[in-house]
Subunit: 237 residues, 2 copies
DNA sequence: GACTGCCTAGAGTATATACTCTAATAATAC
DNA sequence: GTATTATTAGAGTATATACTCTAGGCAGTC
């Protein structure tokens, strides 16, 4: 990925993202990034004024990606395949830029541009979720609801999505804390679909239940005894 | 609060909590804490081996508080007053120790004891939420559900509760980011009750709707235009 | 008054972190 | 080829951070 043909600037962005995702932004210094790329700190600072600028550009990629996937068609209702696509895409994005939500508050505190943009990003995501609910109702998949309830539901979906990874990481035992996989992350879809279950129309109920089943966690999430968890969800990558 | 009669050790814990809550653990050094108390760093380190130990003890207080409030009675069903009490208490706890969830992942990565304990804490909270759902069903407030759905619902409640504050802080504009209030935080109860709405029995539906209404945010959360938000939710403290 | 145990001050340190500066090299334009 | 610009190396720096070390005060006790 960080091959020879790539421009240094892009290599910096890519490597930063990798390292941030793996070890957390707080644990990765600009010197680490430079060392990992075998370039000098001076070189890094030739391309970026500071660490915040690197993070800001990575965020813009993230934003662009999610905006691209959450472009809800205006002219037609959406079906279950669309819904699956939206959910998969959002969790893919979350995975690719997973460092971001981990230190979100600190990052927003240190960069006003980021705070401003992230706020807009959140509002666009919430609006998209809201539209998805609307379109699902248009398609007869869920029963239509009052605007106010739909807004609150959308916000809950957003809260579940953005907190699911943190939950996974904190629920892991120490020795597996680094071994989070995309598959596990996508079990968040199970949680999101749980939110929608009571609103499903009878015609679609079974189909959504079946879809949800595909994402069911392989270990007992909410069990009080944690003994079973050790044997589950081994890392694949 | 940090009066003359208090022991230095306790003053350190109290001041640390205050500073962490106000400015984030990442931004507060042991030197800051000592300076704020007008004691020497040496003194601080006489009482605590390191920063992690301070945080760990604060967490134990937090844990104890929440465990105390989430002691669900085994012998009887619970009513709406109980439910309100649980929700209020949990959000009170979240408020008092609000620094904790902000840097959770980093904190767990730096202290294995904390990771271990927090994992147990999460499981106890999830179990308590699960029991509350059970007792609400016993009391005829919500319809009983299959274990598996109830578990997933409990987890969603937990995700909403623990992510609500982060959402508020990131949704705020820069100039109000410090002005989060307990009142705003408790609007999370509105979101939690939203999760329960579809499961309410007809007899209790109106009453819970009324309860939920009390916590309704005074600004349009999910609106795309953010223009209205500036005028709302001024700080009181 | 000296001994003891608890507490405190404050200077000091090793390491890290974000970032700078200068000089040199590679690429490109003319 | 030479002038110009873009890129890079690498040593260096100011500041911060978590933490240490030594010396001493103060309260109680015999």
């Amino acid at each position: 990925m960080t091959g020879e043909t790539m421009k240094t600037r892009d290599k910096i962005l890519l490597t930063s993202l990798e390292l941030f995702n793996e070890r957390g932004e707080r644990n990765i210094t600009t010197n680490h990034i430079a060392a990992h790329l075998a370039i000098s700190p001076g070189n890094l600072y030739y391309h970026f004024r500071n660490k915040s600028d690197i993070i800001y550009e990575i965020f813009q990629e993230y934003e662009k990606l999610v905006d691209y996937y959450l472009d809800i068609p205006e002219d037609r209702a959406i079906n279950l395949e669309d819904l699956t696509f939206y959910l998969e895409s959002v969790f893919d994005g979350l995975w690719s830029y997973r460092f971001f939500h981990r230190d979100l508050e600190y990052l927003l505190d240190s960069d006003p541009r980021l705070r401003q943009d992230y706020r807009g990003f959140t509002n666009r995501c919430l609006a998209a979720i809201d539209r998805i609910f609307g379109k699902l109702a248009d398609g007869g998949i869920i029963a239509p609801q009052l605007d106010e309830l739909r807004s609150a539901m959308s916000l809950n979906v957003w809260l579940v999505i953005t907190n699911w990874m943190a939950f996974l990481k904190t629920a892991h035992a120490a020795d597996e804390s680094a071994s989070l996989t995309l598959t596990e992350l996508k079990q968040g879809i199970y949680q999101v679909l749980t939110l929608e279950l009571p609103y499903l129309t009878p015609e679609y109920r079974e189909r959504v239940m079946a879809l949800r089943e595909k994402y069911r966690p392989s270990f007992p999430d909410t069990s009080e005894s944690s003994g079973c968890r050790e044997s589950a969800a081994r890392e694949v990558g």
